[in-house]
């Protein structure tokens, strides 16, 4: 009882446990799971990442001006939706060239607000894919 009183009193003079965000930045570990990054030149277009992705946040869709890559025989283009991604790294584990064609960074996605309608373009791509 006495101890809890003394602790409560001591706490009055302690620094707060919370950090002064956004003035102080949040500590970010280098292994933090963040956005998936992609290199167009290194990709071999095996589409394994697209199949492995649990929420379907990676789509390869045929376009008129596809990226110039000799492996890209079907004229596909890589599309990634950071708002759908759960950062589980399944795509990177499925990739035959991890850390060259596809890798996970520790970057955070930008905040998606409903009024920005961030997924509208994505739904069109999904419709094309079907």
């Amino acid at each position: 009882m006495k101890e809890s009183f003394s602790k409560a009193f001591q706490n009055l003079f302690k620094k707060p446990q919370t950090i002064d965000y956004p003035v102080t930045e949040i500590k970010k570990d280098k292994d933090y799971r963040g956005l998936i990054e992609y290199c167009e030149e290194e990709c071999i277009y095996c589409l394994k990442c697209e199949k492995a992705c649990p929420p379907g946040a990676i789509l390869f869709v045929g376009v008129e001006n596809p990226p110039k890559n000799e492996k890209n025989k079907k004229g596909l283009k890589y599309h990634y939706n950071p708002y759908l991604c759960i950062y589980c790294q399944e795509c990177v584990r499925a990739c035959p060239k991890p850390n060259e064609a596809l890798w996970q960074s520790n970057k955070k996605p930008t905040i998606g607000v409903a009024s920005d309608r961030v997924n509208d373009e994505w739904f069109e791509l999904e419709a094309i894919k079907k």
């Binding site: 009882m1 809890s4 602790k7 933090y32 799971r33 929420p55 759960i86 589980c88």
Partner: protein, 361 residues
């Protein structure tokens, strides 16, 4: 004729974090009848598991059933698929799974203890426990890369290895938490004003625990010796020093003590895991599609969690049934409220540690 009044608690109430509704029939201050209602946050997870996602992605879907015991859900589902495909996972992966599962138990119990204190009117302890819980959250983030959704367990093993640098940091943090928890055990046991709110309030006797099929810390606080960790063979709990924690009172105080002792035991287990972490692979390749049906149980922080999975040799599963601990405990919850004072109801409810996102899924 007896005159009674009906007082609802929930679905929106200041003492509740999640939507559950209890309708109390009160005679003056005493509760003489209880009616409960859950299911305000139904999300159709079970249906989504069989229609939208292939079996290898379902582990990530069921992890989203609950924010607190995400890893227990993904582990139980993964274990059921591994059992169906008859896969043997590496020992190191098993140890890493147990490490994360026990860390999850520690932070979940700490959250419960802080809310019991808050609902009994002790904001200072609530703040302190939540502050210390942050240490566990930080080491979980360090190991898995994310604070809440770990996505650490996948079919065939675990997704990430732990570095020696991280082991050192985890050990340091666990030492700090251990010293803090010792302080809480003293305070929860000896503090006079806390005992007024906890001792002999919300009692569940051993007979009633049997009768109402109580599980988890709720049952162990009444002296019922059930813990799924004692009965499973897919994780080597006997190797890392697991001890079942029981108490005899069956009241809020006994539940707190069981949870505190479980935290201490879990910290010891985590230290043992880190000391005796085996060398080797963390993943094995899994081939084939699940065919047949299987039921796998695991001890979630709140009690027994069971997954029934049925597959037909196709990528899509035929059925995923999730039996969550809180849903199974509702009969005992309702029984404990009978005869209590209405003013104690929020503290009693918090001492059950109900998880409604699990229940309604």
């Amino acid at each position: 004729m007896k005159k009674t009044i009906h007082i609802p608690l929930g679905s929106q109430h200041i003492s509740l974090l999640e939507p559950v509704k209890f309708k109390f029939e009160c005679e003056n201050e005493k509760i003489i009848g209880v009616d409960s209602d859950v299911g305000f946050v139904h999300r159709g997870v079970e249906r989504a598991c069989t229609t939208k996602f292939k079996f290898d992605g379902v582990g990530y879907v069921v992890a989203r059933v609950c924010g607190l015991c995400a890893i227990t859900h993904s582990m139980t589902y993964t274990a059921s698929i591994e059992k169906m495909l008859q896969t043997q996972i590496p020992l190191k992966a098993k140890y890493l799974r147990m490490l994360l599962l026990e860390l999850d138990r520690i932070h979940s119990h700490m959250l419960c203890l802080s809310h019991v204190s808050e609902n009994a009117g002790f904001e200072a302890i609530f703040m302190r426990i939540m502050g210390d819980r942050e240490l566990i959250m930080e080491i979980q983030e360090l190991i898995t890369g994310n604070r809440v959704q770990f996505d650490f367990i996948s079919i065939g093993g675990v997704n990430r290895d732990i570095s020696s640098e991280h082991i050192k940091k985890v050990k340091e943090a666990l030492k700090v938490v251990r010293s803090k928890v010792d302080g809480y055990i003293d305070e929860f046991t000896n503090n006079w004003s806390l005992s007024l709110k906890y001792k002999n309030i919300g009692v569940l006797s051993l007979d009633d625990a049997y009768r109402f099929n109580a599980i988890g810390p709720l049952a162990r606080a009444s002296g019922l010796k059930i813990d799924v960790r004692n009965e499973i063979d897919y994780l080597p709990y006997s190797e890392i020093g697991f001890e079942m924690q029981t108490s005899t009172g069956g009241d809020i105080h006994a539940r707190n003590v069981v949870r505190l002792n479980e935290i201490v035991n879990s910290i010891q287990m985590c230290e043992n895991i880190l000391d005796a972490l085996p060398e080797g692979e963390i993943q094995t390749k899994v081939k084939g599609k699940p065919d047949g049906e299987v039921l796998v149980r695991y001890e979630a922080p709140r009690g027994e969690l069971a997954y029934y999975v049925k597959g037909g040799g196709k990528p899509m599963l035929d059925r995923v049934r999730i039996k969550t601990p809180t849903f199974a405990s509702i009969p005992s919850f309702s029984h404990i409220f009978m005869g209590s004072q209405y003013a104690d109801a929020p503290a009693i409810l918090a001492s059950f540690d109900p998880c409604l996102s699990c229940t309604a899924k």
